[in-house]
Symmetry: C2
Amino acid sequence: MKRAYNFNAGPSALPLAVLERAQKQLLNFQQTGMSVMELSHRSKEYDAVHERAEMLLRKLMNIPDTHDVLFLQGGASLQFSMVPMNLLKEGEVGNYVLTDSWSDKAMKEAKKVGATHVAASSKEEKYTYIPTNIELSERPAYLHITSNNTIAGTQWREFPNVSVDLIADMSSDILSRHIDVSRFALIYAGAQKNLGPSGVTVVIIRKDLLAKGDDRLPTMLNYRTYSESRSLYNTPPTFAIYMLSLVLEWVEEQGGVQMIEKKNAEKAALLYRCIDESEGFYKGHAKKESRSHMNVTFTLPNEELTKKFLAEAKEKGLIGLAGHRSVGGCRASIYNAVDMEACEALVQFMETFRKNIF
Amino acid sequence: MKRAYNFNAGPSALPLAVLERAQKQLLNFQQTGMSVMELSHRSKEYDAVHERAEMLLRKLMNIPDTHDVLFLQGGASLQFSMVPMNLLKEGEVGNYVLTDSWSDKAMKEAKKVGATHVAASSKEEKYTYIPTNIELSERPAYLHITSNNTIAGTQWREFPNVSVDLIADMSSDILSRHIDVSRFALIYAGAQKNLGPSGVTVVIIRKDLLAKGDDRLPTMLNYRTYSESRSLYNTPPTFAIYMLSLVLEWVEEQGGVQMIEKKNAEKAALLYRCIDESEGFYKGHAKKESRSHMNVTFTLPNEELTKKFLAEAKEKGLIGLAGHRSVGGCRASIYNAVDMEACEALVQFMETFRKNIF
Ligand SMILES: Cc1ncc(COP(=O)(O)O)c(C=O)c1O
Ligand SMILES: Cc1ncc(COP(=O)(O)O)c(C=O)c1O
Ligand SMILES: [Mg+2]
Ligand SMILES: [Mg+2]
Ligand SMILES: [Mg+2]
Ligand SMILES: [Mg+2]
């Protein structure tokens, strides 16, 4: 079997070792005579998986006891609504930094719940950078940022220093670098980029915020429900959480977040160097100081060459390189599971392609 | 490997052939060089899986063109809220038949949204039967029933003949028997009993109802979002939907719902006969005319014997037989993937156990 070089933006590449482990155990999990998918979510075997996923995430991200770890469904998109439903109260204002259409969507959902305010935005410049001139509204409930912007290919290097509760959509860079969780009131992430397959969403929430959830909220949309039941109020997506636990084990085996971060920086540097040394053939979409280590966005001289590039790349087994329709061009998503070898293969392809054109 | 005899109430047994197929394809889906979990949800390969799941469900359940098929996350419990959020309007009343704590919970969530009315209930008699004396409220928005009651072990044999929109939670008997979908305004089911692993929820909705969803609803909680995007508004739980497609293929290979229904009736008859011929040692919880073909609930003479029964059963590889804590005793869930051999093994165990006691 030839593995694809998988640059999908999400769902995306998983570590081969994780897939092999899952395959091996698929019919008979720990001598139970059952697949992990067939276990009751109330069984002690599944419970150990569930606990292990939380424990490993706590350990790898160094999550303090002040914060709860929750497993939900519905993707990051449901969090766009759950955040304001739980945390945006009458008379308060949800503050948003607009850095890409994901933060845009997050704010749109908040508008259905209460008042919102744009605290900063790079929309006028096609989201090519991370704005730093944050101006909070009166009575801010929180400041919402998107730590990595999957579409634009930008990433916060330093998080804003504000006195208000900081909330981050970390869907596309959670566990890719060290972050100080204690600085955040709430972090959420769909799993399908750095954590596992789609179907499970991780929420890390400072415990005092749980009291804010109104009892009149639908039970399944109240963070307290998940906190009080260890995310076992109803049937969780057991297989997705199992896969999450395997991915977390793999991260640990790689040397933890510190080593992962180092490798990610090297992978990104390799790609950006190729872009920067292409004599303008490849152009980075994001401004240099805001470049993402996860999603490398770039364009070619024209539409025709872009099409040719994508078609030839695919033929060579380099998958998922088309840019998001709102930005166009190309995007290489190089999440944790995309290794240096894949990045080297891409760079080699990019160089050869360019030389063949000129 | 010895397969367990898996009587879990959900997540529950999956067909061995389905697990084997998934295992075989896990590292390389259709020569893509990727796992199905690693495919973009926007790729043509994943799209074919997604379409196939809908197509097969339509075919097997004979779903008319008047109805849409949607794939959601959050389990049946989120549907307890989404149904009234989308379909219960100011001035209308959500009518509920209470047959077990699941319908109870469904009504509790509806109460947060609007007015509700108990149209019938067997709560006073420990939910041991399906009530037929339905009394609708004024201005009913819909009548909500639970087609199979997983905890009590009862099942509607004939659905109520009402002039109002009929909504059914079919989580624990969807695809287990022929039903006339055209009689229902909306059907929902968490997948983890008859359809696949946990993590995907199926909704079948009459298309005219889609207009009822208010634009002010959170996007992810409006059925219209799923209808308009073919359940691809955001990242769907791709692996769970893939497993669903494999389970549906398997149902087709078994001869479709007609054959499945016949086998299910035989399996249930075998178990109920064992109970009825036990001279009172095993007592069925449900009244005979309301007995479920999916969840066979029964008690033993006392707590001590029940414990002994469960422990010895487990030793013999008969898993998941403890009754739900609210009913006690025992429960054998015999969903589609639980075969006659497993039921025969259980009956043999029950008979031997009884004879050893007397
Ligand atoms: C930063 C970010 N937020 C939110 C989303 C939406 O995630 P989901 O599809 O899980 O709803 C994405 C998806 O790519 C994303 O990259
Ligand atoms: C009839 C019925 N409805 C709803 C549920 C809740 O399903 P979920 O755990 O998917 O929310 C169950 C779970 O067993 C059930 O049996
Ligand atoms: Mg906890
Ligand atoms: Mg998701
Ligand atoms: Mg459709
Ligand atoms: Mg579910």
